[in-house]
């Protein structure tokens, strides 16, 4: 009988094939066992330039190119390893101190082991990506050694050995192999191979094996100027520092195990969502979960249980008798926890006396009322699925610094107050307190364990003095994750070689002219804000014999210069958008393109992508077409200039006449949109005027609205809608579009109630049309700003518009609620938005100008692009606003003015005033009113706050008030901000 059982040693290859078994659990809770083959080999090089043996057998790719060798033949030495050294860090070293490895002063010639890379990837994808970035950087000399595939360094897991122990052993095995291998190179000075680890057990075993090994801290101390790097090593990892803690000293409840959470979520007992902190109360968070129409409230430190804003958490809903109303009180961390001592914080239990008092008053208030119907479900956090921790910008709380630390270099523990108010203060150990006080600094959170009231973190770097423009601007860019480093060389290499001398080719036989229409004869002009350098769009209009008009919108042809998938395209897709700050612009594309070659500057020929319509005098579209073109703009107007010329009847040249035609048409277009239910929303917009020489802010102006602005806006909307239809028709699955979801009705509940109670006005929200109409009726004949105020507040109830790939949504979901358009995309600003660039490529393919590039029709890729640019877009807006706020503060410095303001939010211990003149809002607390703090009566039913005692005032929602606006530097925190003092109520 034949048998298919085969003897093990029959196969000569057998010795070098191994299997790895992984066990993974799926989302549905199943456990799967995966067996993978591993082919062990001996041709994986050590990549040291010293080693001749490996260089002879360097592997090649299919084109016969060998991979370059990375590790230097003369690596740097330290005090302990004078012959030079190569580093082999373990997984924990990367996990806890990636910032160190990114330093440019040290950490060169690093061997990254495959097993370490694998473990890192499983633990943290962002860190993995940063490490991959390092291996790609030429000057850092990081080499990935596939130890698990090399016969000599592969090891089998022993009986009873844990996976972690096995992996630690694999690291030591690789270190041993490297040392032995390099010793054979007969080099004059053989570099030492040093294992870096913070695991004491692992270090001990390595030393026993006779390997060179040290902890991060030990290693950094060997470096020249290593002292200042010490702060970047997280304290919890510093073996000697770990204090033994008794179990009953834990302050916070323990998290559930992952499987318990998963089962709970699946069974509907627990709920999963993103944790958000209230901007007015650091002890109140909320979380939106599909099972509840209203968001769940999470109140108090114990229920929040170490969740930080943005974390993906699992919560358990509390019993109904503990459901509460959202807070009507302002609670600020700075004020409540001011006097805590960072060193001895374990004492005193979880909730401090002050916090308990603040919360108790809260509870008293809610219980005193009959609140059925108002109560919101509450919940507590039982576990964290994924932390959303990033690097935070902040400054050291001076009051937390001990006197001795201000002088010496001994390590001290201090609190860092993050710029983002939603982030709790962070405990930090540092040796350079004295240098860091009064600086903007970048820190990270490392851990938040059950025994510590505040999260612990470590120092990354200093940005400079507080309140200096450079430091504050960089802080802002870091906070909003704006990519502001200069463009790398690989990107600049993608630019046209001619540089600024590039011209539209004179000969129409040039390939650049292929399928391009010559529109140079048209009277085209652009209208933009003053000083605009990156001109995306230009327009023209001319009468046709039929009595209709030909109207053209011409957009910079960026896709001609930025080819898909080259380095420049990749960089642009990561940046996603240009970010405009008051005194700085962070470009999406290199300057040469943005402000010159693509920019539709006047008097020069430029490539464009044109949308041409025939419109009736009533602005109905008769037909339209799209074409690549060459244009020559006649003039670049500012909004103000154009407005003056249009209004001046004596101006009769053709260009001005055509602007008047466009103006008339745009008004009809706008009317049509309004009839369809488009919303006219509002946000407080101001402009900071700078002194031209010193670029110091001198004044703040509210933005004026001109007809020429809506002229441009209307035609851009028309072009965007037209292009959206066209690309959707051509690519029903992969068109890149923009949608604006209808807000849930409950979003308007509070505002509707406020209007009904305070003004007797009804807000109907059934459709955008109904909302638009009812917003129109929200007027106070005595107060013209009231309508704008309501629009600002309504805007905050809306959803955010988002980019999406058409295949991911059903057609009815495409709708843009705010613009009342069935379909919409972004096409008109390709210089400053990546979405528009993709739309350009899709439109070019739709009109068969060029072949469809795979990247613009791969749905997976487009979804990734959308996800990224949605985030970037939002961050760019926030960064812009924060920049204005900073400069408004600077402009007010040393001045005190009385301004009119409006109460837009009211609490039981304070109220928020919006000052339209500066576009700022600020909180006025009861304790700011008078000393001692007046007692107050808050009527939540009528939104009225009445104080008595030291000062007697009565304020209510929507009320017009007079406030004294000053700038103020908070002495305890070193933070400068706008301060409002209540003067009187009108």
């Amino acid at each position: 009988m034949a048998s298919i059982k085969r003897s093990l040693d029959s196969d000569p290859l057998q010795a070098s094939i191994s299997s790895k078994v992984y066990v993974r659990s799926t989302k549905s809770g199943k456990v799967q066992k995966i067996v993978r083959e591993v082919y062990l080999r001996q041709d994986i090089p050590c990549s040291s330039k010293l080693c001749r043996t490996c260089q002879k057998m360097a592997p090649t790719d299919s084109a016969g190119r060998p991979i370059p060798f990375v590790l230097s033949e003369a690596p740097a030495g330290t005090s302990v390893y004078p012959n030079g050294h190569y580093l082999v860090p373990d997984t924990n070293a990367f996990l806890s101190a990636m910032d160190l490895f990114e330093q440019s002063s040290a950490f060169y010639d690093v061997v990254v082991l495959q097993i370490v890379l694998e473990e890192l990837r499983n633990r943290s994808l962002p860190l993995y990506n940063r490490l991959i970035g390092l291996t790609k950087s030429e000057d850092k000399r990081f080499y990935v050694f596939f130890n698990e595939f090399r016969l000599e360094t592969y090891i089998n897991r022993l009986e009873g050995e844990s996976v972690n122990d096995r992996n630690d052993r694999a690291v030591r095995q690789a270190v041993a192999w490297y040392s032995e291998h390099l010793a054979r190179t007969s080099a004059g000075k053989v570099p030492t191979v040093v294992m870096l680890s913070n695991d004491r057990e692992n270090l001990k075993k390595a030393k026993k094996q006779g390997l060179a090994a040290c902890s991060l801290a030990e290693y950094v101390r060997q470096l020249k100027d290593g002292e200042h790097l010490l702060d970047m090593i997280p304290e919890t990892e510093d073996g000697d520092m770990i204090k033994e803690k008794k179990p009953n000293e834990f302050l916070y409840p323990e998290y559930f195990s992952m499987s318990k959470m998963m089962t709970g979520v699946k069974g509907g007992v627990l709920h999963q969502g993103t944790f958000n902190v209230s901007p007015y109360n650091y002890l109140e968070g909320s979380i939106r979960v599909p099972a509840f129409p209203k968001s769940l409230l999470i109140l108090g430190r114990e229920n929040i249980n170490r969740a930080v804003d943005g974390d993906l958490v699992v919560v358990e809903v509390l019993p109904k008798d503990q459901w509460k109303e959202p807070s009507t009180q302002v609670i600020e961390e700075e004020a409540v926890t001011k006097d805590e001592n960072p060193d001895t914080e374990e004492a005193g239990g979880l909730v401090t006396e002050r916090e308990r008092k603040a919360l108790q008053e809260e509870v008293k208030r809610t219980h005193s009322k009959t609140t059925e119907g108002h109560a919101q479900p509450t919940a507590k956090v039982v576990g964290v699925i994924k932390r959303n921790w990033r690097q935070y910008v902040g400054h050291i709380d001076q009051t937390s610094v001990s006197q001795s630390a201000q002088q010496g270099r001994k390590q001290d523990t201090v609190f860092v107050i993050p710029m983002d108010k939603k982030i709790p203060k962070i405990r930090l150990r540092t040796r350079q307190v004295a240098e860091l006080i009064g600086k903007r600094i970048l820190v990270t959170i490392d851990a938040w364990d059950r025994g510590s009231r505040h999260p612990t973190g470590h120092f990354v770097r200093s940005l400079g003095e507080l309140e200096t423009k450079a430091a504050e601007t960089e802080a802002l860019l870091l906070e909003y994750d704006v990519q502001y480093r200069p463009f790398p060389k690989t990107v600049l290499d993608c630019l046209p070689k001619e540089g600024h001398d590039w011209k539209v080719p004179a000969s129409m036989d040039d390939p650049g002219w292929r399928d391009r229409e010559d529109l140079r004869h048209l009277g085209i002009c652009s209208i933009d804000p003053i000083g605009c350098q990156d001109i995306d769009d230009a327009l023209h209009a001319r009468p046709l014999p039929s009595g209709n008009y030909e109207v053209g919108v011409h957009i910079a042809d960026v896709s001609h210069f930025v080819r898909p998938n080259n380095a420049m395209d990749m960089e642009a897709s990561i940046r996603g958008t240009t970010v405009y700050l008051v005194d700085k612009r962070i470009d999406m594309l290199p300057m040469l393109l943005g402000t010159d070659l693509c920019s539709l500057k006047p008097y020069v020929e430029r490539y464009a992508f044109s949308v041409l319509w025939e419109l009736t005098p009533d602005a109905d579209i008769v037909n339209m077409r799209f074409t690549k073109s060459v244009i020559k703009s006649r003039e670049a107007f500012s909004y103000e200039q154009a407005q003056l010329k249009v209004d001046d009847a004596s101006q009769q040249d053709d260009l001005i006449k055509s602007i008047r035609v466009l103006m008339a048409l745009s008004k009809k277009l706008k009317q049509k949109r309004m009839d369809a239910g488009a919303l006219s929303l509002s946000s407080p917009e101001v402009k900071v005027q700078m002194e031209s020489e010193t670029s110091d802010p001198i004044d703040v102006k509210t933005k004026q609205h001109l007809d020429t602005m809506s002229l441009v806006e209307e035609f851009m909307l028309l072009a965007n809608v037209s292009v959206a239809r066209k690309i959707y028709e051509a690519f029903p699955q992969t068109a890149l579009l923009r949608r604006h979801g209808a807000p849930p009705k409950t979003n308007f509940d509070e505002l509707a109630n406020q209007l009904r109670v305070k003004k007797g006005l009804e807000l109907s929200v059934e459709s955008s049309r109904a909302l638009a109409d009812s917003l129109d009726t929200c007027v106070d004949p005595k107060e013209p700003f009231f309508n704008t105020l309501i629009r600002i507040m309504a805007t905050r109830c809306m959803m955010a518009a988002e980019y999406f790939c058409s295949g991911t949504q059903a057609y009815p979901e495409f709708r843009h609620y705010g613009l009342a358009s069935e379909i919409y995309t972004h096409f008109t600003s390709p210089i400053r938005r990546y979405a528009d660039l993709v739309a350009h490529r899709q439109l070019a393919a739709a009109i068969e100008y060029e072949a469809v590039h795979p990247s613009v029709r791969s749905r997976g890729r487009l979804e990734a692009v959308c996800k990224n640019i949605n985030v970037r877009h939002r961050n760019a807006q926030l960064a812009g606003r924060a920049s204005i706020a900073f400069y408004v503060g600077q402009a007010l410095r040393g001045k005190a003015t009385q301004e009119d303001g409006f109460i837009m939010k009211i609490f039981s211990n304070g109220f928020v005033v919006l000052v339209p003149r500066f576009g700022i809002e600020s909180l006025v607390r009861l304790r700011d009113l008078a000393e001692p703090e007046p007692t107050a009566e808050y009527d939540a039913e009528t939104y009225t706050l009445t104080t008595s005692g030291s000062r007697e005032i009565k304020v209510e929602l929507f009320q017009k008030v007079k406030v004294l606006v000053t700038d103020q530097k908070d002495e305890t925190t070193g933070k400068r901000g706008v301060k409002m003092e209540f003067v009187k109520a009108y």
Partner: protein, 273 residues
């Protein structure tokens, strides 16, 4: 979990430690089941399949073959090549059962049937059926290629005249369609993870020739990369042929030694022509 296929560029190593142009270990045996006319067992890496061939047989009272055979042969007076593929539920990680009418299984059957019909001398057996029944015991990528190779071996074992081995393997590319990386390397013999993440195709050739008998590509791939992938695939087929041929020869020698085959019959004559 190990790294994914994007790590290739770090050191030109694939997820299982192979280089771009290396096959996995191929292990094959023939005449594994004495009762059948022809049989084989084949492993390509962790993909493991078994094949049993019965026939060519005349129509008549049905024999209990696993295939849907027993009919009156194929059209035009040639033998029908009836292929049945049974995928065991335990063969893949998710242990999903494939039913009899599963579309992918039907497609596999048709592809294998057509590929073998091109090499087998079916005209010698009009009105007969050659039934090939394949069992998938374990799946780790390149399933179609393994099935074709196993079927070829079993047909050799059954002594059905054929032009040459039909040998197959897969080829892929180190970079996804969307990434559109110009410097992508072609890959030989993909495992399951690579098949999931990268574009791939299955190619079968007729023996050592460059004549392509099967070419199946179900993923998006740039036309410019296709040539390189195909070249690597065809060279892989040649390597597979060498291995299978060796298996057949070894078995032949063994059988002579054991006296299963008459001494007078030289090994050379055992060769398939």
């Amino acid at each position: 979990m190990p790294l994914d296929t994007s790590a290739y560029s770090l050191a030109l190593l694939r997820v299982d430690g192979r280089r771009w142009n290396e096959l996995r270990r191929v292990h094959a045996q023939i005449r594994t089941q004495a009762a059948a006319d022809g049989s084989s067992y084949l492993e390509m890496g962790h993909t493991k399949v078994m094949c049993v061939v019965n026939g060519p047989s005349e129509p008549g009272p049905r024999r209990g073959t696993a295939g849907g055979g027993g009919g009156g042969g194929g059209p035009g007076g040639v033998a029908e090549v009836a292929v049945s593929v049974v995928v065991a539920g335990f063969s893949s990680v998710d242990r999903k059962r494939r039913g009899r009418g599963d579309k992918r299984t039907l497609e596999l059957q048709t592809t294998i049937s057509n590929a073998l019909a091109a090499s087998l001398h079916t005209h010698l057996y009009p009105h007969s059926t050659i039934s090939i029944s394949l069992h998938v015991l374990s799946q780790d990528g390149s399933l179609l290629a393994a099935l074709i190779n196993a079927a070829t071996l079993a047909c050799v074992d059954a002594g059905i005249p054929m032009t040459d081995y039909v040998v197959a393997c897969t080829a892929g590319s180190t970079s996804t369609y969307a990434a559109n990386d110009e410097t992508a390397d072609p890959l030989l013999d993909l495992n399951h993870q690579e098949e999931q993440e990268l574009p791939s195709l299955t190619v079968a050739t007729l023996g050592e020739t460059d004549r392509v008998a099967v070419l199946v590509c179900e993923s998006r791939v740039q036309a410019s990369r296709l040539e390189g992938m195909l070249a690597v695939g065809v060279s892989g087929c040649h390597q597979v042929r060498e291995i299978l041929d060796q298996v057949v020869r070894d078995k032949g020698r063994h059988m002579i030694k054991e006296g299963t085959v008459e001494k007078g019959m030289g090994v050379e004559e055992m060769e398939v022509d």
